[in-house]
Amino acid sequence: MTDLTASTLPAQQVASRSFRRKRMASLAAPVLILAYLTYVFFAFDVAGLGDRINVSNMKTLVADSYSYKTHVARDNRNGEMEIAIEGERKGRYAPGTAPDWVTLGETTRVELGNGHTVELGPEVRYDVPGYGLITATPGSSGVNASLPDGPLPEWINASKNRLAITTDAGRLTITRNRAEVFRYFNGWELFFFTLDSPYHGMSPLELLRSGEYGAIWQDFWTNKMWRHGDVAWALVETVLMAFLGTFGAAMIALPLGFLAAKNFSPLGGLRFAARRLFDFLRGVDGLIWTIVLSRAFGPGPLTGSLAILLTDTGTFGKIFSEALENVDDKQIEGIASTGAAPVQRYRFGVIPQITPVLLSQVLYYLESNTRSATIIGAITGGGIGLLLTQAIITQKDWEEVSYYIVLIILMVIAMDSFSGWLRRKLIAGNEAGH
């Protein structure tokens, strides 16, 4: 009674104190966040980022992801010509052949478009519209360039042994031994067929008319530049890792989940052991499992699957046992009251209650593991993750990098929609059935 009177009297004070505390908290939170972000700003040296940022890399990346260049090079020592897309062996034109903007001969004419023409021969001539004629006679004494009178524009870089001219139409680099022209084109080079394929340069209609679908497919599938077959396999491997890992983990975690659930596991010790196992599997984390397993099984999709399987056994075990602990006893009692044996009690009393929860969790993880499989593939060496890291390491195949990124996004979105569709289908079906 005394308590009551004592607590009613200062009720207003209590309320205003609590208001003050709330107000303080709502002010303190942004201040704390700001303080932390400031600390991180300095700890990560974000201010120094401006110096570290590599603008030329950025330009290469952006330009390369939507365009490609063809190299036309003349060896000044023996006059040999080499024409190659992206300068790669896989994209080289056979000797004596050239694209239609290159006229081979004693002096090779290269049309760069918009009136820019380069002549590659013992004397290199580049007629730049609106500027004038640039000539050079590379030899043992240097490149011997002669430029129109006037100040040197900044798009020309000239020294005794090197001349580099960059215009909107392309790029010309001359050294003593080599004169090289780059011409840029939009698009992804040789995406369908490489130069050695007879189908290169044919229109879709011509391809359709030719009727050689088997050979056409073969040339496309084994395209040396883009390796469509390998990429498709890599995608399959990645999805496979996610599929095997997720469902394998679910199958192992289900019985273990029963062991770890308070209301199903009679033995406290067993329950404790199962729970600690889940904690351990989750705590060690996919990264460490991947490292450990790749030592035993080598790189590949199996290692990735097992790494996902181990990590997710821990996760699923925890989720499943929690779901089992929340099971409604009434349904089980109802089944038991009809004289059902224990197995029937589980089958009709427990399983229908937990299936929707478990299925939706497992299917959610299927999508999320597709992403994990990409990352694990990059670490252990398998699937699309490996192709992506390889392409990034070369630092020049950015068109392939963008291709892989697009494929990865499409793959994840496809898996997301697939698992969503399956979830609706299975769970709605179950609800209707019971």
């Binding site: 932390y36 570290r52 396999w233 491997e237 890792m241 599929f243 990264l287 035993a296 990059a378 994840v412």
Partner: protein, 292 residues
């Protein structure tokens, strides 16, 4: 129609229905098992080392690491201190990424929830944007940013933050959809602006769920941050890769890093799940008895 069906007919229909369902379930099960076995053998065939060949060696590497760590156990505390700054960097990457991601996700979610969005035409495109952000694995963004910005924690932070915006944005907008619109309408009736309606009408309803999801994301992001370190983005993952590459006889430092990482993940998981429980079940959850 229904009145005319007799009891035996119902039984027969029911049994036919169950039989059909059982057959369907059997078929599904067979297909599933076939996929699983086929998938496993495909994965096994495409792996560098086979499953059965590798199985006996699974414990070789952990045994090497553990025995070396045991032999030089007295060095471990020193290594813990040595790698503590890297660990803090990893945690900071995750922390900053979660904070920044959650801040952006907060606004993105409000703009992407029907009924709350000030510009309804923006809802669709914004949701697609969140989908794409969620679909891009962190490693993709991180690797590209490492190329542009050089190694270090910033690329990893940006990569994880972008993914966090996508993931939390979706969860937050799902929470928003369940929020009652009555306080919002009430505030609107007294002339509150959009921001006031959101901060005073919606946020108090959704804040506990937001916090709970953000904490869960922090747990996930710590793991992501360690993994990104392994591909070159600073933090403890980077040290782990370096120490691993020193090979046999030097595994004691790797063991120390394993332990640090394991301990951190466990501690963060425990602390965060404690707070999440309190947030979702309310502060009174624990002393419910006292109140009742």
């Amino acid at each position: 129609m229904h009145q005319t069906t007799t009891a035996p007919q119902i039984t027969a229909d029911y049994l036919a229905h169950t039989r059909q369902k059982r057959v369907m379930n059997m078929i599904l099960l067979v297909v599933f098992v076939a996929l699983l076995i086929g998938g496993f053998s495909t994965a096994n065939a495409r792996n560098a080392g086979g499953f059965w060949n590798g199985l006996p060696n699974v414990f070789d590497f952990p045994a090497d690491v553990l025995s070396e760590a045991w032999e030089r156990a007295h060095l471990l505390p020193g290594y813990f201190v040595k790698y503590l700054p890297s660990l803090i960097e990893t945690v900071n990457i995750a922390g900053a990424a979660t904070l920044i991601g959650a801040l952006f996700a907060f606004f993105a979610a409000l703009l992407a929830t029907r009924g709350l969005a000030p510009a309804p035409w923006l809802v669709g495109p914004l949701r697609r944007l969140l989908d794409v952000l969620r679909a891009v694995p962190e490693i993709v963004v991180a690797l590209v940013l490492i190329f542009l910005l050089g190694g270090g924690p910033v690329p990893a932070m940006i990569a994880i933050a972008l993914h966090t915006v996508g993931a939390l944005g979706k969860l937050f907008s799902e929470v928003n959809e369940n929020a009652s619109l009555k306080p919002v309408d009430g505030l609107a009736s007294v002339g509150a602006g959009w921001l006031q309606r959101m901060v005073l009408g919606v946020v108090p309803q959704v804040a506990p769920n937001y916090l709970s999801y953000a904490l869960l994301r922090f747990e996930i992001n710590i793991r992501a941050s360690a993994i990104l370190g392994f591909v070159g983005a600073g933090g403890i993952g980077y040290d782990l890769r370096n120490t691993m590459s020193w090979g046999q006889g030097k595994f004691d430092e790797a063991a120390a890093i394993f332990l640090l990482l394991f301990g951190t993940i466990i501690i963060v998981d425990q602390v965060s799940s404690h707070f999440r429980n309190r947030l979702t079940h309310g502060r009174a959850y624990k002393d419910k008895g006292a109140i009742l």
